[in-house]
Subunit: 132 residues, 2 copies
Amino acid sequence: MSQTSENTLKVAHQGFKYFTHGLATGEWNDFLEILTEDFNFWFPQGKYHGLNVGKQQAKEFFQYVSQAFNTGLTITSLERVTSNETTVVFEFCDEGNLMGEPYKNRVAVSFDVREDKICGYREYFGSNGKSN
Amino acid sequence: MSQTSENTLKVAHQGFKYFTHGLATGEWNDFLEILTEDFNFWFPQGKYHGLNVGKQQAKEFFQYVSQAFNTGLTITSLERVTSNETTVVFEFCDEGNLMGEPYKNRVAVSFDVREDKICGYREYFGSNGKSN
């Protein structure tokens, strides 16, 4: 299957929907299902800071995120979506409680798409996570 | 002039070239020239954390950046460029010295384009700025 911008956008939007659901509920199965086996991701800080490789690592990471935000993390606004043939970037704001403290951030996540799966993910922080 | 994706990409690439030059040399005139008077920007942390409005504020900000990185900040690789009709996101890695300490980061910057100028800028950090 050849890669088209249209398909890339479609797969990334589906992935982002599952990602949003995972953040809100802690249920990551749909999101994990759409990842390639060699999925890799970059995260800005903490235990998973830097490059992480493989779907099992991703599973552990997203469980760790949901443990930290155990009442869920809500995407309050999706601000911009940009794309090219293989990559889609979502800029959004989120809000929740991190270890019981009010948290909000501005975030950019970049999904790389291969055929009907997501093969890469990079997260970038636009704020310091404090709620004020 | 109507907004087209092609023009948006062209203006944003020109802006990114000036931005790169500003980071490397501390000379920001070309970059400031391409900004609208009502240019606004979001920055993740420090003195300019949050939303900043107006070209004068931008001028002070970029001078402040160049004072902090007084030997220049080099973009070591441009990793992805994504776009839509009005916005272009550049994902890149940079490296330099921050107040004399080795610094490197993964960064996403998002430029909003209006006609032949850049009217908005959002910066996101993909790392913690430490060089290891």
